[in-house]
Symmetry: C2
Subunit: 371 residues, 2 copies
């Protein structure tokens, strides 16, 4: 075996774990997963460990993964900070509990943005309906009520437009600890992906544009068009501040709003991200490979684009006519081996092009997945 190869454990066995493993095997690494069941997307791609009773959050069999692994990473920012601290006593976990602590709670995340002078929406912590009324008085409407933890793909959010919606909003998010955020009037939604390894190397991918529907990412355009180089540099400075402050090792994603006044941070994820899936064929080194390189102590790879234009189209709910997509040149299909279900991410299609016209033409041919 090569001297660079190691055993990597992943908490979670969904599509992110699946794509991390596929990016890591070519480096000679071996993979193990702790997932909910043997049906999960990553389950064929390494040693699969599950709770004794599948589909529960029991961690009694986690020891098997920990003893297998030289290093452990996780798929979700909702991973328990306490659990990661416990594992870290035995086996290194990257990103560390510190990154997880900040990234899994919107209140801590916003406080960190403020501390690092990264612009973000005004916000207030909300623990009950009285807090919410006070917060609305300070921040004004429209505003967005979000649970502090565990929201994703638009879940756990309510856009409050009128004062009489407060109770409805509070019920809607499950009467849980939340923050109220001022509504940001944005032109586009952007994101940036950065990577840091323990040797303090930093690399950054280009800002990309993300288009959502019903709170779910549908389309990423890479790079985002008409971005002033100064804006890219500013985004990279924000990322460097976050990476260094948290001592982050691995991929970090920051979602941003592009506004008249400049970039406004929305939220960060301490992991590979759907808006980075275009990098699989679109960049010299994918976000998945760079995450694996970072956590396994290897030099980071080039983030340069391989072609001038790329896009990522999510396959949501139903697979559709995959054979039609496979017939297109410059298109790469990535399926996650998941059963169809409304709103579920089943795969994605990467598109590469040498011109905007070529990109638009191919996206036109993929309209079935975008409409």
């Amino acid at each position: 075996m090569s001297t660079i190869s190691c055993h990597i454990g992943i908490l979670g066995a969904g599509q992110l774990g699946r794509m991390l493993a596929m990016a890591g095997y070519p480096l000679g690494h071996k993979f193990g997963f702790y997932g909910l069941s043997h049906d999960e997307p990553a389950s064929m791609l390494g040693h699969m460990h599950t709770p004794t009773q599948e589909n529960t959050d029991d961690t009694s069999n986690l020891d098997d993964l920990v003893s297998f692994a030289d290093v452990i990473t996780f798929e979700s920012e909702n991973t328990s900070v306490e659990l990661v601290k416990q594992i870290s006593q035995i086996t290194p976990v990257y990103p560390s509990a510190t990154s997880l602590y900040y990234a899994q709670d919107r209140g801590r995340e916003k406080a960190l943005f403020n501390q690092l002078a990264i612009p973000c929406a005004p916000y207030a912590l909300v623990n009950n309906l009285t807090d919410l009324e006070a917060a609305v008085n300070t921040i004004g409407l429209p505003a967005v009520l979000k649970t502090t933890t565990e929201g994703y793909d638009g879940k756990g959010q309510f856009v409050i437009k009128q004062p009489e919606q407060l109770y409805q909003a509070w019920l809607s998010i499950g009467e849980r600890p939340a923050i109220l955020e001022g509504f940001v009037n944005f032109k586009r939604e952007l994101s940036i992906i950065a990577v840091r390894n323990a040797n303090n190397e930093h690399v950054y991918y280009s800002l990309v544009e993300n288009q959502h529907r019903d709170g779910i990412l549908r389309l990423t355009l890479a790079p985002a068009q008409q971005i002033d180089p100064a804006i890219q540099q500013q985004a990279e400075r924000y990322m460097q501040a976050l990476l260094d402050k948290m001592g982050h090792v691995g991929v970090l994603t920051l979602e941003l709003f592009e506004t008249e006044a400049g970039l406004v941070a929305n939220e960060m994820a301490p992991r590979v991200h759907n808006s980075g899936h275009w990098t699989m064929e679109g960049a010299q080194t994918s976000q998945f490979e760079n995450h694996i390189r970072a956590i396994s102590g290897l030099p980071l790879g080039s983030t340069a684009a391989r072609q001038p234009f790329a896009a990522m189209v999510n396959i949501i709910g139903e697979h559709g006519d995959i054979q039609a997509a496979l017939k297109l040149p410059n298109v790469h299909v990535h399926l996650y081996d998941k059963a169809e279900r409304a709103g579920r991410k089943l795969g994605h299609i990467n598109v590469l092009a040498n011109s905007q016209a070529e990109l638009n033409q191919t996206l036109e041919q993929l309209q079935a997945w975008l409409s």
Copy 2:
């Protein structure tokens, strides 16, 4: 699960099976292998089946793979034709026993080349020393004595330069059924990879140049430089004749000599081939993905190059300083998770470039693996 997804069984679990599986998971397929032991390169990448007594050629546990699989393929042309015929009674095997029959025996292969008017070296079948003497009288010296079956990486071959070497040559190849081939005075060694699916689609990659040392492939240059388009077309015509004659489904590789008189066929392999590893990042669709597409009834993907120049450098015997390679942009490392051993293929490094100068510069930086 998607309607295109299926279960694929692979006879063998080496690096070819490993890379086939990694190319097939993104299509939603699942993989199983029948290999010698749980230490093989593909063993982590699907259901692994082995003989009851590992590292034997016992096939008693093969039923498990056959019942798992919707379709079966193989890694090696040395797979038993009889075994493939038996399996085919239950589960389709692609390429079929017909392709295997021709490709695993140099005598049958040469006869097929002659039948299809594909130029190849003069040859004679040799079953004993008397045959060898007669063959040398007909064909002349120098000539190459090769076992009809199971030779690879230069094993089972002897170049006869002088008449007094006949006995030494016969002993050297193990006194087994062989052919004597006239020595071909070639300028370069080339190869071409083609793919056919059951819907009679054919696609072809560009001719590449292969540089060997001690009978082992060291370097592939893709595409081969200074190839007249008429030569590429001729190679494609030869491939189409072979694919159609054998009803081949999957990847077929043909090694060729470039001579003053044109292309001369050397040998074919009914499988993905080391000289096609550059396609992983170098082509729109890799040879591995196209093989999987072909055997699983999907449309074939574009074989166009993604950048004008590509190369593949084999990692032989020792891994060397992999971190140094990882630091180079435009370079992709693929390790097979194998222990170091003299002459063993441990991985390969793909190089991509936009100019000959850029390619040469990167190959210079990879000299440790080429010298």
